[in-house]
């Protein structure tokens, strides 16, 4: 890591090239720029997660810390290339007036002609697509479960502000559940007449899962409280009986279906780097997510 104090974007860009040459390889195999926006105390953790997630998709990772807006405008950066990894990283701290213009720092550092992804690990703008940094990106990733204040409303805020390219990690956390539910229904081959989702009281994922189920199955989905962790139980009621997936411990689920033996299924709550990896795999808008958030907004209006 090279520290650049009171610096500029072009000095950071030059340092990337120098660092690569020092490592002996001027070749670039990176496929995207990943920008994340965090508070200073979360920066290191977020950088580790981003680095780990971008193993699958070598990226230039830019961590943006928007510091104190008072005082003289100043840009500080820590620049490095990965060892044992093809990407590049810069942790950039802004202070003073430039905190209002972070895009001016990021724009010159975007890789030519390749996609840009912005990730807000914790607090996200109310409308990510209108955010100065969000506007630069093709994909915008928020995490409603990780905000520190206003948790209960965070997911709904993101749903209302949906724009193509937005997704929330609450949705990513559902992939395993959704895959298993789809597989279970495939085996049952039967029409679902009612459904319910049990989860912790505040659980953006459970809200999205209910909305997805009601959107796809055209039934009312009951939302029940439980001790968690996360989602603990989903029931699809059919004429033959209930299809139940219960996961009390956040790891191993049991699938029960009418006329079938109970079967254990691994359904672990995934780590952030795995979730982010999944997001980076798809750089086009997620239409199914779009329909789900639309449904959630509609249900809320009722």
């Amino acid at each position: 890591m090279i520290e650049l104090n009171d610096t500029t974007s072009s000095a950071i860009a030059a340092e990337f090239v120098r660092a690569r040459r020092r490592a002996g390889s001027p070749a670039m195999g990176m496929v995207m720029t990943l920008v994340f926006v965090v508070e200073e105390e979360d920066a290191e953790t977020a950088m580790d997660i981003a680095r780990s997630a971008s193993r699958e998709h070598p990226a230039r990772v830019l961590g943006m810390i928007l510091g104190d807006g008072r005082g003289a405008a100043r840009v500080d950066a820590k620049v490095g290339i990965g060892s044992g990894w093809t990407g590049e990283t810069a942790l950039i701290t802004l202070s003073g007036a430039v905190t209002k213009h972070p895009e001016s720092v990021v724009l010159p550092l975007l890789l030519p002609d390749s996609p840009v992804v912005v990730w807000w690990p914790s607090r996200a703008p109310a409308d990510p697509a209108a955010d100065p940094l969000g506007r630069l990106a093709r994909r915008r990733i928020t995490d409603a479960a990780a905000v520190r204040t206003g948790k209960a409303k965070a997911m709904l805020t993101q749903c209302r502000a949906y724009a193509p390219g937005n997704t929330d990690l609450a949705w990513t956390r559902l992939t395993g559940w959704r895959a298993l539910l789809a597989a279970a229904l495939e085996q049952a081959q039967s029409k679902v007449t009612a459904a319910s989702v049990s989860a912790e009281r505040i659980s953006p994922s459970a809200d999205l899962l209910s909305a997805w189920l009601s959107d796809r199955l055209k039934v009312k989905v009951a939302r029940r409280g439980s001790e968690g962790p996360g989602i603990t139980r989903v029931v699809l009621t059919t004429k033959q009986g209930d299809i139940v997936i219960a996961r009390p411990d956040g790891k191993l689920a049991t699938l029960s279906a009418p006329g079938e033996p109970d079967r254990p299924v691994a359904l672990k709550r995934r780590e952030l780097d795995e979730l982010l990896s999944e997001e980076l795999r798809r750089l086009d808008p997620d239409e199914v997510y779009a329909r789900t958030v639309k449904r959630m907004v509609k249900e809320d209006a009722k």
Binding site: G29, L180, A182, Q187, K239, A266, L267, E278, E287
Partner: protein, 513 residues
């Protein structure tokens, strides 16, 4: 099952636009014969675990081992547990193991044991009941081909090959698919007597590799390669699979088979087919097979087999800093063996696209290093407006698809050397799937086992292709059998001098891969 079974059930939770949801196989089980073997422990069981860990196996998936060992279910489960811990690609997690462990069974017996096959039938029926596998089972024959007839006969006799309506039974066989056209046909007759063609999956694990599939993506998804992918621009193609190891413990199988039949017949001819074939109308199994079949049928042998082929046997030497014995000194190899451990052949492809472009295929053991690649070497530019001294170090442009290790693509072209004089030299541009990237890219066996369970055959060669490949290779191997013996090469080098001469006659040289 359901009251509306007459009308087709459309799963409302599935949506073609929902590309996050993985394809999970329906309820099913896998029965492995020869479960104590190396392949089973090092590749198959870990691949099954990795699939489970990625959430791609159906709930209730069951794994049945069949072998002669005196094991109970728990003993077998312990073996699976250990091999998974040691060889699986993904992290070992207790909950994934629990999902698998409940469905693990073991049946003891040899391949002609009526009682044991009856027990196997019971086990499968039992699994259908307690695990809900619904009569869907794949039989993986990880056993020498001489036992196929026994096992398949027993499966048939015990009613294990006829699925009840709505269920499936599939059989998976590994190479070698025979040792010549005749034995390949015999083998196919045995299998196809019992299983319909769509239920037979021949595993050529090379075809499951990401880089091999990428040959198709590279050729047919891009605009810049296909226009030069023909005899107007391509001078020749070199397909190499080199191994740095010797025959190891495979003496019994290898002696009498040799390099050409072991590798060229399957892996290299499949690579040739993918490199040379025309664009398929779609990427389903049938369209791919039609194109592969067509190009294999257009392959012609050179007139003079003595001049256009070469073979060798390694002798004692130093390989990567270790002193290693020659082939004839390996354990259990007779001193008079004429089996080749290196084979190089020249093939032509008689199509408008490829007429006049030789395809050089080579494979050997104890070569310089372990590498598999397809190198498309282009003609020199028709006119060079530079002085002869300026282009002295410029050779031919090349596009190299590196299949393993270090998966990726290399392009070689000329570039000006910085300085005042005009001097042009070869440079390489590399695309790497990347050391880190491939960590998470699935092992070939995972992909192939999943495809078997899903019933998707695009990556599996059909018996027509297998037979066509033998038609190409048989005349060469027969010619060798009647004419002399293999040349020799020192272990750790790039093969016999005769192979270099073979290319020199055409005015070409082998790449050092």
């Amino acid at each position: 099952m359901s009251d509306d079974a007459t009308s087709v059930f459309v799963n409302p939770l599935r949506d073609p636009q929902d590309r996050r949801l993985p394809r999970i196989a329906g309820p099913c089980g896998l029965v492995i014969f020869g479960v104590t073997g190396d392949l089973s422990r090092k590749k198959l069981m870990p691949a099954v675990y990795d699939l489970a860990s990625r959430g791609l196996l159906p709930p209730g998936f069951s794994l049945v081992g069949y072998a002669r060992r005196d094991w109970a279910d728990q003993d077998f489960a312990q073996v699976v547990h250990d091999s998974v811990k040691e060889h699986a690609r993904t992290e070992f997690r207790e909950e994934v193991w629990k999902q698998l462990a409940e469905g693990i069974r073991f049946v003891q017996g040899d391949f002609s044991d009526d009682v044991a096959f009856d027990q196997l039938r019971q086990t499968i029926l039992d699994l259908d009941r307690v695990r809900g596998t619904r009569g869907n089972h794949a039989f993986y024959l990880s056993i020498p081909p001489r036992f196929f007839s026994d096992v398949i006969g027993q499966l048939k006799e015990h009613g294990l090959t006829d699925p009840k309506p709505g269920a499936w039974r599939r059989v998976v066989v590994e190479k070698p698919f025979g040792s010549n056209l005749e034995t390949a046909r015999e083998l196919n007759a045995i299998v196809s007597e019992v299983f319909p063609p769509d239920s037979v999956f021949r595993i050529d694990h090379y075809l499951g590799k990401e880089t091999v599939q990428n040959i198709l993506a590279m050729r047919f998804a891009n605009a810049m390669f296909e226009p030069v992918w023909n005899a107007n621009y391509v001078d020749h193609v070199q397909i190499t699979m080199a191994e740095d190891i010797g025959i190891g413990g495979r003496a019994g199988y290898y002696d009498g088979i040799g390099a050409a039949r072991d590798v060229i017949q399957n892996h290299l001819l499949q690579l040739l087919a993918l490199t040379a074939m025309e664009e398929p109308t779609s990427f389903d199994a049938k369209s791919l097979r039609i194109e592969k079949q067509k190009v294999l049928e257009s392959v012609v042998l050179p007139r003079r087999l003595d001049l256009a082929t070469a073979r060798g046997q390694y002798t004692e030497g130093w390989s990567g800093g270790v002193k290693v014995p020659g082939y004839l000194e390996e354990e259990d190899i007779p001193g008079s063996s004429h089996t080749e451990t290196y084979a190089a052949i020249t093939l032509g492809v008689e199509t408008r696209r490829w007429a006049g472009v030789p395809f050089y295929l080579r494979h050997g053991k104890r070569l310089g290093r372990r590498v598999t690649e397809v190198a498309v070497v282009f003609k020199r530019a028709p006119h060079l407006p530079f002085s002869a001294t300026a282009t002295e170090e410029l050779t031919q442009n090349a596009l190299v698809i590196r299949v393993q290790p270090d998966e990726g693509v290399t392009m070689r072209f000329g570039s000006k050397v910085p300085g005042t004089a005009m001097e042009i030299r070869d440079v390489n541009m590399d695309f790497a799937y990347g050391g880190s990237f491939t960590e998470s890219s699935p092992e070939a066996y995972e992909r192939l086992i999943l495809d078997v369970l899903l019933g998707e055959p695009p990556l599996f060669p059909r018996h027509e292709e297998v037979e066509q490949s033998w038609k190409i290779l048989d005349p060469i191997v027969d010619y060798w059998a009647e004419h002399g013996k293999p040349d020799t090469y020192e272990a750790g080098t790039w093969g016999p001098a005769s192979a270099d001469k073979m290319l020199a006659r055409d005015g070409r040289v082998w790449r050092r891969p």
